[in-house]
Amino acid sequence: MSTITALGIILLLMMVAVGGKKGVQSFLSLLFNFGFLYFAIILMAYHLPPLPITLIVGIIILSLTIFLSGTDDNASQSAFISSLFVLILLIILIIPIENWVQVQGFGIEDSDDLEGMSLLIGIKFIKIAISTAILSTLGAIAEASMAIASGLNEIAEQHPAIKPRQLFIDGISVGKQIIGTTLNTLFFGLFGGSLSLFIWFAGLHYSFGNIINDKVFGAEFIIIMFSLIGVIITIPITSAVISRRFAKRKSKSQSKG
């Protein structure tokens, strides 16, 4: 048995033991996410335009992650709508920044891995870099919007008389509670993911100036920055979406009653 299969089975068993049906769903969402991610790359290899593919796959991944791990339909819907807004805003940010920072393709540190390969493949790597950045932020957006949505939904259920405006303020304070740990999830992800790169930098005595201008470091770093910005803007956006939906539902039930 391969290591991936063995670890996968163990993760599945643990998820089921901890979460039952929800565990199965969490595992499925991971599996589907991988499938769609790889499928997106294969489509790009067939010269389909990267940005539209990324947008479609991105929406599918967000909906899978949110609806497969959501407990409450109402909260999941709010989280999904908010995450779409965040996705669009992030795309508007990512495209010009990627064009400005120019970290597409590969750096000199990659030379060994690229030996013997043809780099002239006729696909613009800047587009691939934009797609990569967008896809990398999806997990963080989904997680943050779910956390805010489920927190606020619980408050709304416990205090049905709450004012929509107060609900928005509560959303920001839920955000304040999650931001510290989310920031750590992202940055430890960066530290872990680029540990060998940093060891390389240390070995070759890169200066601070060398590092912040380095292409490979830049590519990893800006992805974390985009995820971080995604998480930050998710907080007010999700709170606003939920307080609006709550206000609408309230006025509907009042006009009925």
């Binding site: 643990m14 901890v18 790889y38 999830t185 940055f187 960066l190 060998s196 912040i212």
Partner: protein, 366 residues
């Protein structure tokens, strides 16, 4: 969105804009800080397209360009130069230069100077500024303290990398294992303050991470690491396996901490709301809270670990490799990392619930 606009703090925003302007203006004029000569392009002449095609029938083209410009720093400041640059349509390792672009060059007194790399500190500083401003505008002090823990951890991380270099990577797993404990302690102290809750969360974080590493080592032994291609690890300058485990350990630590913090803080809140709740009930509600957040968290790390593998996977596919081979050589290690982190995150659910049920003060109140 009206609420957002009304709540915006005008003073902080003006402050952020002023700081941003200073940071961007400063970084755009920071050439004097660099030792390497920096070249600013003033005019560009592009040659003709040279079409190319490789053995896999990938059609591309390349263009030679002549760049006229000036050196901006050092002893050669003010010197005019003409440099040749070749860029391709796909631009995997090259790029088209435009007027006003800046680049680091190798200067040769006799003969052609060459471009080394694009200067990208301005956009990096811009992104850092944007993130910090948004953090402070929306989240005020919580944003600042979160930021503080990142800064402290970054210094610790870089110091450990230097220690690893000085010890030639012999003790990499021990070193970063110790770092993981220090990281968790400092981060949780900054987020939660020193309290019973913080210690409980620390125990759960360390135990969860430990479980994931032990489980993966056991699995590695039984499967003989079949299907893991350490040779595909990038930027490796020392023994790959302990390095891989250290990467995974540090990478998953934040998420395990995230999961533990969420569960334990909810349980401490629950206990203070309903002091008569039993230990068993605490454990069960911890498991329920944990089960709903573990899925999204595993996905966060999955996308961070996998995202950066996409460009190389694409290059493999376009170089005539099969889908299976491209996967093995680029993505299998990322998947293993995601799975190990997943195991840590899921293990943290019962562990956090257990520690909370044991360590929360007092039994049922009279």
């Amino acid at each position: 969105m009206n609420e957002v606009i009304k709540k915006l703090p005008i003073k902080i925003i003006i402050g952020a804009l002023v700081l941003g302007f200073i940071a961007i203006f400063g970084t755009s004029h920071d050439e004097f800080l660099y030792q390497q000569p920096i070249f600013k392009v003033e005019s560009v002449h592009n040659g003709n397209r040279m079409k190319s095609s490789d053995e896999f029938h990938n059609a591309d083209y390349q263009i030679n360009q002549k760049l006229n410009g000036t050196i901006m720093n050092g002893k050669l400041k003010g010197k005019h130069l003409t440099i040749n640059n070749t860029f391709s349509h796909s631009g995997a390792m090259d790029r088209e230069y435009h007027v006003h672009n800046e680049a680091f060059i190798s200067y040769h007194q006799h003969g052609q100077s060459t471009i080394k790399d694009y200067k990208r500190d301005v956009p990096i500083v811009f992104l850092v500024w944007l993130s910090i401003s948004l953090l402070v505008i929306f989240l005020r002090m919580s944003g600042v303290s979160a930021l503080l823990s990142i800064i402290v951890n970054s210094f610790l991380f870089y110091d450990s990398v230097l220690i690893n270099y000085q010890t030639q990577g012999d003790q990499v797993l021990f070193l970063f294992g110790t770092l993981a404990i220090i990281f968790s302690a400092i981060t949780l102290w900054l987020i939660l303050g020193f309290s019973r809750q913080m210690l409980t969360t620390l125990c759960s974080t360390i135990a969860g991470t430990l479980v994931s590493i032990v489980v993966s080592l056991i699995v590695f032994t039984f499967t003989h690491e079949h299907g893991m291609y350490y040779e595909s690890m990038q930027y490796v300058t020392q023994l790959p396996k302990p390095l891989f485990l250290s990467e995974t350990l540090i990478g998953s630590l934040g998420a395990v901490m995230d999961e533990s913090t969420d569960i334990i803080s909810s349980l401490f809140a629950l206990k203070s709301e309903r002091p008569q709740i039993s230990r068993k009930q605490i454990f069960l509600s911890g498991r329920q809270i944990g089960a709903s957040i573990m899925g999204p968290l595993v996905n966060v790390l999955f996308f961070i670990f996998m995202g950066s593998t996409l460009p190389l996977a694409l290059l493999f596919l376009k170089n005539g490799n099969s889908i299976g081979y491209s996967f093995s050589m680029n993505m299998s290690l990322g998947i293993v990392q995601s799975l190990i982190s997943g195991i840590g995150i899921v293990a943290a659910v019962p562990l956090a619930s257990l520690f909370a049920s044991l360590f929360i003060k007092g039994g049922a109140k009279k």
